[in-house]
């Protein structure tokens, strides 16, 4: 990469940071408990809209994993989720009624909060339907991982988005508040992913899985991206570019080995396809607040009316991280 390209990326990074700085005004602190944050705390950043039903399990899952503080942006919820979050002693919550789309799908808001609170901390950025799995997560807390990453001078950790789905119609099994969503969406596609390298940002671009198989059979290039770098030892100069798919400076995107070895990596179990999804898809379609004019949701809405069974004969049922590692969806790298 030439100096010019490098300079352009630098400018772009500054631009996102300035944009985040401008967008800070859209956020109103509802419960600011950030004074509780201690040195070395692991922070979780998220945006949410009307996810009340998911929040209890989501918070519990990451508390048990060892997240110390949650910083959440509420985008105009009307299902009581804001009130619920306000009551949590380890959650700081900001409210905004502004456009999700114009904050680049929440990235600007979170970039601002990260700029302000995350430097020096490990920052985990996930949606309420994403559950991080990393090597040894059944026996070692998240801090074991971040300590090891620190000791190995690694600043960012990759976790591919793995779409989970139920067997049978999506609306067949109702999700109860507080329930582990993996009990319902326990199936995934093990080996139908396409990976390409993005020369500009240095990240990998991964597509595939059930969404590509069912909704984007004829237009695979339009299928959603599955590569994510959700866990980063934050510094003030960092900025996410597009969701957590890409981050600048680009060195943080080099979460993969290019010489044939395997770096340690995890998976984000994506439990979007619960019974709540059909309703959500229709709602999002109306709001048109999602990526690429909600092309994804358009595709869902059409296909879902016809045959909402993502399950096939070759679907794998989720067991544990070791299974994912054997299948080649994540790796222990040199962590043992």
């Amino acid at each position: 990469m030439g100096a010019f390209q490098s300079y352009r990326l630098r400018l772009q990074r500054k631009r996102w940071l300035i944009r985040a700085f401008r967008k800070r005004r859209e956020l109103r602190a509802i419960a600011d408990r950030t004074d509780q944050i201690r040195r070395d705390d692991i922070l979780l950043f998220s945006t949410q809209r009307n996810e009340k039903i998911r929040l209890p399990y989501f918070l519990q899952y990451y508390r048990d994993m060892g997240v110390n503080h949650f910083l959440i942006v509420d985008n105009d919820s009307d299902d009581g989720s804001l009130e619920y979050l306000m009551k949590q002693s380890d959650v700081s919550v900001w409210y905004t009624s502004k456009s999700y789309k114009r904050s680049r799908f929440g990235v600007d808001w979170l970039n601002w909060l990260q700029y302000k609170y995350a430097p020096g901390h490990w920052a985990l950025t996930v949606d309420p339907d994403e559950f991080l799995i990393y090597p040894f997560c059944d026996t070692r807390p998240l801090r074991a991982l971040t300590d090891w990453l620190d000791a190995s001078s690694i600043k960012s950790f990759s976790a591919m988005l793995l779409d989970m789905y139920p067997k049978g119609r999506i609306d067949q099994q109702p999700y109860r508040e507080g329930q582990d969503p993996i009990e319902i969406t326990s199936w995934f596609d093990a080996g139908n992913y396409s990976i390409q390298r993005n020369g500009r940002f240095g990240n990998l671009w991964i597509q595939g899985g059930p969404r590509s198989r069912m909704f984007f059979r004829d237009t695979p290039e339009a299928a959603p991206a599955l590569n994510k770098v959700p866990l980063v030892k934050w510094e003030k100069k960092y900025a996410y570019v597009s969701s957590t798919h890409m981050i600048l400076p680009r060195g943080l995107n080099l979460v993969y080995d290019e010489w044939g070895g395997e770096k340690a990596s995890g998976v984000l179990l994506h439990t979007k396809f619960l019974d709540t999804f059909t309703q959500k898809a229709n709602e999002e379609l109306e709001r048109k607040q999602h990526y690429a004019a909600s092309i994804e949701y358009k595709a869902y809405a059409e296909s879902l009316r016809e045959n909402p069974d993502l399950w096939c004969k070759w679907s794998e049922k989720y067991i544990n991280w070791r299974q994912l590692e054997i299948l080649g969806l994540m790796s222990k790298g040199n962590w043992a």
Binding site: I195, P220, W314, S331, N334
Partner: protein
């Protein structure tokens, strides 16, 4: 009694754990001298010292700044050892440990062990030529260059200065009388040896020299012990495993069983939050001290596998933390497979026949333009790969490598032909290996796992049998011949690594059994078995005339070899219409 073994402890973080371990040593009767890194926060250090001050046989030595790879650690060790030898005259062995070391066996056993070997120094010590473990290419040069810049905080200057010294051919002189040795930082030396090193009249010379050696804590005592020890056992009593960057592996709660069976006295490094390990080994909870069958090799295997995974990975796997550049991948695909071109055209029942003869999984044309022809016409197969041609063409390399990865343990075979698509151009802005439609043929050709068999020109058989206008046939024949010709050029290039066999159609039908036998033997399941049944060949009566017609129309079919115009091929005339047996 146990006062015979003194512990020198170097600590810098997780002081509460260090305190726990120090108490443990002390309770077993071992005097302890502690050095705490100067960069540890003052209030933490005070609290730590005050907590331990109630113990009579614990001392604290002067604090030094111990940056990794620099002299500080050696200076700290020297002073702490001097204090140990001076204050505790009954000490016979000094054991150097860190704050993150954990005794795995009762201290009693260590004391007894050392008592039985009163003259032995346990220190890993090998000459630079013999050690494979140095990282970063600095082995002998550790001793002959200067290292005034910090590796951790000033890597750029560090590297530049090394490069400069190499360029001008600078070499430091090694003091007379010593031969540089290296080894684990964690040793256990006898009073005799240790005091001889510390009281050596030449010590200022050695210290001055080692002060500028790279990572002196791995060479100072290791070198000087060679001068004085009467009985060196070159191994460390501390179990310590290093990863590929030279950083120690860390032990967690889930290593409990492994550590129990390691049979080592002390292990490092322990994660400070590994409560189960500390409770088990220090407080004897969870039955840790029940002796189990020692199995120290298992730890070695686990950690060397981790290094292997990080450096070589699983060949043929492409995922979000392993995406090798082309040519650096130590294996394009993960298992061997077969590609057949021209066989289904020439034989009517080739696929079922091949499946029966080899036990392999035989697919149709995986790269058919309309859909992926998986075995048995399935629409989804292993790994939930679907039969969409668009998805396949979007990333043909991912398609092929995933297919082989998903079906590992089972031999895959598929048909290929000049009418198939081998990838298509990617959207703008995406950098990838395959840019032109035929680029997948390069992937196949350079994959040592691929076994590619081609009967060239066999694509003409379906044309010959088809009921189409001759002008169309001629046009299509010209196109197919061009594509196959290019493919054959790729296969014949000096860069190809696949097992490649190419026959012209004329050659092949002369004696089809022999090539078939060769190809099938490689597939391996039915080794050492002669083929008894041949696939049924298409009826080629009139094929020679067909080729002649093409020639008469100005096209030049050459890939199929020489077919006589009038007489049909000899092999064909004698061939019975039903399958036959070969003895």
């Amino acid at each position: 009694m146990s006062g015979n073994v003194g512990i020198v402890m170097l600590v810098h973080t997780a002081l509460h754990r260090a305190e726990q371990v120090a108490r443990h040593w002390h309770a077993a009767g071992c005097p302890v001298v502690i050095h705490c890194d100067k960069s540890t926060r003052r209030e933490d250090w005070r609290r730590f010292r005050d907590a331990l001050s109630e113990l009579p046989n614990v001392r604290f030595s002067t604090r030094h700044k111990c940056e990794w790879g620099t002299w500080g650690i050696v200076a700290a060790t020297q002073e702490a050892s001097e204090l140990m030898l001076a204050d505790f005259p009954e000490v016979r062995h000094v054991y150097l440990a860190s704050g993150s070391c954990l005794p795995l066996r009762p201290v009693r056993e260590l004391v007894d062990y050392l008592q039985d070997r009163p003259r032995t120094d346990f220190i890993e010590s090998a000459t630079t030529a013999d050690v494979p473990w140095t990282v970063g290419g600095l082995d002998e040069e550790r001793f002959t260059l200067r290292f005034p810049f910090s590796w951790k905080t000033n890597r750029h200057l560090f590297d530049r200065y090394v490069a400069l010294q190499r360029a001008v051919g600078f070499k430091r002189k090694i003091p007379a009388g010593i031969t540089p040795h290296m080894g684990s930082q964690w040793w256990c030396l006898t009073r005799q040896t240790l005091s001889a090193i510390l009281e050596d009249p030449e010590r200022p010379t050695y210290d001055r020299y080692f002060r500028k050696v790279w990572i002196p804590d791995e060479s100072y005592f290791q070198t000087l012990a060679r001068l004085y020890s009467t009985n060196i056992e070159s191994r460390s009593l501390t179990l310590s495993k290093f990863d590929f960057q030279g950083k120690p592996h860390i032990f967690y709660d889930d290593h409990l069983q492994l550590l129990r069976r390691s049979d080592c006295f002390v292990a490092r490094k322990i994660w400070p939050h590994a409560s189960l390990l500390y409770e088990s080994f220090l407080e004897g909870k969870h039955g840790a001290l029940n002796r189990t069958e020692p199995n120290p090799g298992k730890i070695d295997r686990i950690f060397s596998k981790a290094v292997e995974r990080r450096t070589r990975g699983r060949p043929g796997l492409y995922m979000h933390s392993r995406f090798p550049n082309e040519g650096w991948d130590n294996g394009v695909t993960c298992a061997r497979y077969s590609v057949f071109q021209g066989f289904t055209e020439l034989f009517e029942d080739f696929e079922p026949w091949l499946a029966k003869a080899t036990g392999a999984r035989v697919h149709g044309h995986l790269f058919h333009p309309d859909r992926v022809e998986y075995e048995g016409g399935q629409s989804v197969i292993n790994g939930a790969m679907c039969d969409s041609a668009a998805i396949r063409d979007y990333n043909a390399k991912a398609f092929l490598t995933s297919l082989i990865w998903n079906t590992r343990g089972e031999w895959q075979a598929f048909q290929l032909g000049p009418g198939d698509v081998l990838g298509k151009p990617l959207p703008e802005g995406v950098v990838s290996e395959q840019k032109t439609p035929q680029d997948l043929s390069w992937l196949l050709a350079r994959d040592p796992n691929a076994q590619i068999s081609v009967i060239s020109g066999a694509w003409a058989v379906p044309l010959f049998k088809s009921n189409r206008n001759f002008a169309d046939i001629r046009k299509e024949a010209a196109m197919l011949q061009k594509i196959e010709g290019e493919f054959l050029d790729v296969l014949r290039s000096p860069y190809s690594k696949a097992r490649i066999r190419i026959w012209t159609m004329a050659d092949f039908i002369e004696s089809p059994m022999e090539p078939l036998q060769t190809v099938i033997d490689e597939i391996g399941h039915n080794t050492l078995r002669r083929l008894t049944e041949a696939p049924k060949m298409a009826d080629l009566t009139g094929f020679g005339q067909f080729l002649q017609n093409l020639k008469n129309q100005g096209m030049h079919p050459y890939l199929m070899g020489d077919f006589p115009v009038v007489h049909d091929p000899v092999g064909m005339q004698t061939r019975p219409r039903k399958p036959y047996l070969v003895q």
